[in-house]
Every structure is written in structure tokens, then in C-alpha cells.
Symmetry: C2
Subunit: 333 residues, 2 copies
Amino acid sequence: MINYDEQNFLKIGAHIYSKKAQIEKIADEVCEKGFSNILFSSVGGSQAMMDPFRCWINEMSDLPVYSYLSSELIYTGMNQLKDTTLVFMASKSGDTKETVAAAQYIKANTNATIVSVIGKGNSILEELSDYSIVYEDGRPQELILYIVIGKILFNKGYFLDYPTFAKELEYLPEVLCSVRKQVDEKAIAYCQKYHNAPYHIWVASNELWPVCYAFSMCVLEESQWIRTKSVSSAEFFHGTLELIEQNVPVTLLVTEGKTREIDLRVKGFIEKYTKEANVFDCHDFVYPHISDSFRPYLTWVVMNAILQRISKNMEAITKHSLDIRRYYRTVEY
Amino acid sequence: MINYDEQNFLKIGAHIYSKKAQIEKIADEVCEKGFSNILFSSVGGSQAMMDPFRCWINEMSDLPVYSYLSSELIYTGMNQLKDTTLVFMASKSGDTKETVAAAQYIKANTNATIVSVIGKGNSILEELSDYSIVYEDGRPQELILYIVIGKILFNKGYFLDYPTFAKELEYLPEVLCSVRKQVDEKAIAYCQKYHNAPYHIWVASNELWPVCYAFSMCVLEESQWIRTKSVSSAEFFHGTLELIEQNVPVTLLVTEGKTREIDLRVKGFIEKYTKEANVFDCHDFVYPHISDSFRPYLTWVVMNAILQRISKNMEAITKHSLDIRRYYRTVEY
């Protein structure tokens, strides 16, 4: 497998899992202090990384939970942001302009508690946060949120199986390596066929929608300069379907979560009306060591690993490095 | 002006405004009964028609307000949906499958109050709703929501200027005719230049984002089969910007609301990096009889009227009727 280092993946996964006690302690302190609602606020890929956890909290509890882009938050305010709000923020660099501005806005206007997931130590965002988990070389970041949010849900009585789930999370890096291997052949064929396609449609629902949205925007558009329309499965039939023709590549991500039926409705349609229908369905993959009942909770982190095989293979075929940017952090704007 | 009947526009606008007392009575009854939060739930263009009012409520009050696609709601539930929730739903036909299913779900699981905005009388959605406003030939539907939500905000002490605002709303049909005339020449030039473009990028922020999203999806894609990527101004710099080249048409909708600065940042960028930058800025239009302080509240309904001149002129140039569908309500799926 190209651009794949299994030992490293296992190592960087273990690095985050080794912080489990520290992360759970944050959850305990946050619960002890108390909070009345939860807000996820960042921008771009970082917001999309956190957004599936909003769906998870909605499904698991009756805690009020919101997502709000940092860039809009600082201009519009957010009327449920209070002293008792628990805010989750994320930034790889720790200095993302909009996210830092939102953290400053939150601290200037409230006593809300900020918990941040940050890639680098000693950042401005870390300084502004009440709690930070710095993952450095650790991956995937989602593992941090599974632990902190899982433990909060457990503490509040919403997720009694958390201790078992948390034990199985130790295998998450192995699961993600396994699905990468399971999908690679399909991913290579996909990239060979579509790396030159003039236009893609990508579709997914609910907790996989942020994954689909971010992969289209941050990988296909930003890193490969491929034109892509992403649309949620729930909305597909309210407009975008009319663009489907036999030669239009459509890629559908199918969840094992509660909205699976919406995805399958799209699947039935695209398999009839385009010869270029491509489906990546979590249900087709083995997750070693993971209980069946937890599989739906891992949908988004698994799908991100699956899609990583598309980005890595796409890069190898197009010879367009995933790191080249025309504008982002290259020119001033 | 092609496909434009001013007398009819004024008539259908007056038709809705004539129901003002009836609509305000709904607001009064809803307030008298009391509610703890507000939910907007529908799908496609109807949801996008309502979504700017979520931004408005967020800006004007501390009422908790949510948007949730009906199609996802019925599968995932929505953890703040309670007996005391005030639900707004909308459907042109009154029989949109997902919206009707969500209304049934809400009634089966809660005693929430449903207020619906519906195009046709005697529909299933009307039957499921506690209150319905049937607008028949009336336009724009937004006028209904300005009155019912404006009056609720007034009753609760958040919008003391509502009586003046409501009086000025009588001129809304005239304002919308005026902006149509103000923009038509520019819209014609736009359509002549871009009706054959292989790909469009459309950008807007906050309360104009649903307008941009729906125009891209329900008009350009669904009704004209034009490939379009829509992205919020707040997210533009986190991926899509990399697709900008000197020959890529970008259309930016600029608000007069609080996120204007985010839009202007995009404006600066696209005017530098593509020769095909197109900007429709609410600030450039005269709104006869409307107080300056109310202009930001009308941004979304005004922008919809502006964009209607693009759809009407596009149809005339492409000779592709806005009513032709390959699939929607044509084939089974």
C-alpha cells in the first residue's frame, strides 16, 4: 500500500490512547463544575471533525448541543452561549485565525468553559482554553473526543456502556489500519477511473455528512483541485438529482447509523441513473475487536480512514501533492 | 422585462398582507399558550426559505432555535423536541413526503405546536398542523414568517419596533418589484455570459447562506441543470478557494447583516483571482419606503427577488423551461 506506514499508525494511535486518564479527568472536572449546554465551534476541516459528535450527543442524550462556525460566531453572537456553556474547539495549528478570534470572543463575553483539541503545543488557542488536549503526532483526533464526550455521557448517566466502549477504543488504531487495507484495492480503482473527471457529486447523511462535506472541500477541492458538489442524502432528492446522467460520477457514503435508509434510497437511485455510481458502505467492513453495538458510533472515524485511501492513492496517480496550495497560507487575503 | 408581471406581483403580495390580522392572531395564541424553544423543520427549498428566520431569531432574542431537516428528524429524533416546542414547517404542495412524515412523527411523539406555511388548501400537512397559513397564489411566503415571527418577538419584548416594521411590510411587494427592475439589466448580462459555463461557484454568509444554497440547488441544478458548488463565505477560505482560477465564474451574495465583513473578505479575494467575479450586494439597492434600520431584516427576501431575475432571464436565454424535470415527481424513487 502506497503512503502507508502501519507501525506508525499504531504508534500515533497508542500515543493518544495513552492520554486516556488525563482526558477522562477533563470530562470529570467539567461535569463536576456543571454545564447547561454544549457548543462546537471552529472552522473548516476542524469543525467537520467535531460535527459528528453533535449528532452523537443528540442521539445519546437530551443535552442541548449546537454547532456554530467560529467565523460567524464572532459577528452574529450565538444566543445560547452562556457562562454555563461547555465549548469544544479544534485547530491543528492552534492559531487558526477565526477559531482564535472566537475563543477570544467567548472569553471576553462569558465565563464559558473551553475544551480544545490542538495539534501543536504552546499555541494561542491553548492559552485561551480552560482545558486543552495537545495531540502532536497523535491520530486520529476523533479518539480524544470519543473519550472526553463518552466519559461525559457516562458521568451523566446517558452511556452506561462507556467503560466497555473505552476499552475497545484501544483497538481503534488497529481497526482503522484494517479498514484501510480492506478498501485499498477499491480505492485504487476509484482513483484510476476518476482522477480526471471534470466534476464529482458526493453524498452522505447525518453523522457522515460532515465527513463527506470536509473530504470534498478539504481534500478533493483544496488538495487536489477537483471540482466537487457535496450534498446531504436527505437533500439529494430536492435538486441535485437532476444533474445525474449516465456519465456523472457520484460517490455515496453509507452509514450504519440511524439514517442508513436515507442513504440506501440515494443508492437505489444512482445505481439506476448513472453508470458511475460508487458506494462506500461502513457495513461492508470488518472492525476487529469492536462490539456490533458500538459500530454505529465509529462510522465517521472509520469512513475518514476509508477516504484517506482515496486521498493517498489520488495523490500518487495525479502526482499532485496533497500539500500544494495556490492560495491557502501562501498569499495574503 | 421578460417573465415579469408587476401588477400581479403587487396583487399576490397584497393577498398575503391582507391576512396580517389572522397571522398575528396565531402569534398571539402561540405566545399565550407558551413555548420553550423553536424548531424549523422541512426539506429542500422550503427549509431554506425558513432558515434565515433562525438567524433572525438568534440575533433578536435569546429564544433557543433549531433547524432540522424533516427527512433526518424522523430517523434520528431531535433531542430538544418537546411538548413545549413551537415547530414551523413549510411545503408548497402540502404533501411533501418527508415534511408530512416529520409532522406525523412530531404529533405521535409530542404535544408540540405546529405552525405551517402551505401553498395549497386542504393538504395533509394542514390537517397535521395546529395552525396553517395557506398562501395559495400569494407571494412571497417569507412575508407570512415576517409577520408571525415578528409578532412573537414583539409579544415577548424582543422587537419593540415591530408595529412600525409591520406597517412597512405593506410595501414589501413594491420593494421586491423595485429591486427586480434595479437588477434586471445586470441579471441579463450575467445570464448571457454564464448560461453555458461548465461550473459555477456560489458564495454567501449567515442569513443569505440558505438563499445561496437553495438557488444553487433548486434553480441552477434542479431547474437549469447547471453544475454548481455553493459554499458559505465563512468556509470559502477553508478549501474551495483553491479552485479559483481567472476563468472560473464565482457569484457572491453580500449581506447588509452582521456578517457583511466576511462576505467582503471573499469579495476582495475573488476580484483579485478570477476575472469572472460577480457580486450582488444588497447595499447597492434602493428599498422604497423601508427604514434603514429594517433593511438588514429584509436581506434574504430581497436577495431572492434579485436572484429571480437570474432564473427568469436564464430560462429565456437557455430555452430550458424552469419546469422541466428529468426525475423529480417524474419517475419513482
